[in-house]
Symmetry: C2
Subunit: 344 residues, 2 copies
């Protein structure tokens, strides 16, 4: 699952190495976590989407205690005056896809087989629940010092501003739940079966002789370039990791240079002025030796990599999905073209 979450993270969502250790440790202590399908929960069961907010770079050092899920659950139950039935990853990508396993183990709740993105995105309202008209409020934000906030925001964009500025104040990292919803709502307002998908991707890559072939078969991935990281610019600013990396082609790709632009996630892949892939499609950098996805905060000069891109969940290709997470929503001056068309 961790391997699959990393692939789906498009470089973001946080590194899965520490979150995998944390989840394993929690399961050893508290027992396994039940994965439930939304169809098997009562209509009015309250689902708590949750995860970390901030710059993934910071989360490598600020590991958390595992109790964050309890704080969020307690805060949400007070704010909504109801019991939380299950946790859900706000985003299946990266550590945030694994986080609910760790937290759910601590409090004995199940995790639903769904998430709010089918990948990772940098900003809070970039979730399928926002598209479905679910309110981001009430949200709960917590840090490890005992700071806890119940937040009602004017809208999703204000929730982003409020939680981002607080995560910066808290040292670059906080835990939050937003867009809580009932199981009945979640059946149409989330990306379904994404935990299962992450596990299937991971298993296929582990079993395959050529992991890139497995990725091609399981999610329709295209390899944009295979080569070496020849330039890495990365900074933590305004609560995000921002930067760009350059991949110089090797072997059959010699002479090709692909640039990735980053805001927590890999947003676009460019060959000169030509767009090779862009949000909301998923661009993932894979280590050529291990075939593990490399998160943006781990990119280093000299790494041998392949850059793969594959289609996002179809909801992101709708007009409302593109308004929320298409290239123009990130400030780019071009329209989205699906990876299948760009590759053809």
């Amino acid at each position: 699952m961790a391997r699959g979450c990393s692939v789906l993270g498009a470089g973001g969502g946080g590194d899965t190495y520490t979150s995998l250790l944390a989840a394993r440790h929690a399961i050893e202590r508290f027992g396994p976590v039940r994965l439930v399908d939304l169809d098997n929960l009562p209509d009015d069961a309250l689902i708590m989407p949750c995860g970390g907010i901030g710059a993934p770079v910071v989360s490598i050092e600020k590991l958390g205690t595992g109790e964050e899920g309890r704080w969020l659950r307690d805060g949400l139950e007070q704010a909504r005056q109801g019991r939380v039935a299950a946790l859900m990853a706000g985003e299946i990508g990266g550590a945030n896809g694994m986080q609910p396993i760790n937290w759910a183990a601590h409090i004995g709740l199940p995790v639903v087989d769904a998430d709010g993105m089918g990948r990772a995105f940098p900003e809070i309202p970039q979730v399928t629940m926002e598209i479905a008209g679910i309110s981001a409020s009430p949200a709960v934000l917590a840090d490890e010092r005992g700071n806890r906030l119940a937040i009602t925001a004017a809208d999703g964009a204000w929730m982003e501003r409020i939680e981002r500025t607080l995560s910066v104040e808290f040292g670059g990292r906080a835990s939050g739940t937003e867009y809580s919803l009932t199981a009945a709502e979640a059946r149409t307002a989330t990306v379904r079966d994404s935990v299962t998908l992450a596990i299937r991707i991971g298993e296929a890559m582990a079993a395959a002789e050529e992991p890139l072939d497995a990725l091609r078969e399981s999610v329709g991935a295209r390899v944009l370039v295979t080569g070496k990281l020849t330039d890495v610019e990365r900074r933590v600013t305004g609560g995000f990791v921002r930067g760009r990396v350059e991949v110089g082609g090797l072997g059959e790709h010699r002479g090709r240079t692909v640039v990735l632009e980053i805001q927590n996630e890999n947003l676009v892949a460019l060959d000169g002025d030509r767009v090779l892939a862009s949000v909301p499609d998923i661009i993932t950098v894979l280590d050529s030796e291990t075939a593990e996805a490399i998160h943006t905060e781990r990119l280093r000069y000299g790494q041998r990599v392949s850059v793969a891109a594959f289609p996002c969940d179809p909801i992101w290709r709708s007009p409302r999905g593109l308004a929320l997470a298409g290239p123009r929503s990130f400030g780019y001056d071009f329209d989205y073209v699906p990876i299948e068309e760009l590759a053809a």
Copy 2:
């Protein structure tokens, strides 16, 4: 009362001109507000200290709706699971001393004859409730867009950091309640009779031929210098008004130059290296023509003024009071000496 609040504000707490208009308007619409003594409230009556947070400069333009008190009351009642019995000024100084009158009129609650400072201070934990060991949490913060937060902070210093960063994000101004407490607690944890004091100061100054004499008699004020503002540096940064002003003496003070250093409030008055007065004592700039106190955001080059200083409430001269609001707490490298001793 507005005139007295301005004098007690030490230049801060926000300009009382707009808050006086707002309070009058609210009283015309909703009827008068009852002033109650803490001794006449049941022990368990919940008191809501409240006011604006941010840079006073901003509040001249961001006037508020008058409904802020209702939002805070509703949020606090949900967080504390109890009914608010009365409002109280977090600080009697400046607009924040008047604010509860406006808000209480809107929701039909009384205002208690007490506050948390006996003056104005720039930071949230600089209140007598903090000295008394009352928790700053749960707090409620609101802006005019519909953003509402219920905050449990690790301590008073974190409450300051959280609310300050949010007030900046909200455009430099927010409304908040912190350190809510029962009437029984408030009897020993607040500055008593401060609304009455503000009214008495205002009445004495209005009635006197020489307002400075009235101030001398009512609060023991000393005049540090009478002259002209010859230099004003002021900027809004990090959610505060910061700066320094220079007063060049005229008449009997010709040749004397007094510098005031500002963080929302006038913190210290200096004659070269010599400290003439400092926090927590109250330093107030008065217009020579009208005898009205001039808030720090209204100081302008060329104004004819008198700078007066007078003793703070005795609680601030205790070791815990000085740790919280003495010169060293603001980064100065000298110990507090009471204004009476400095003047002698």
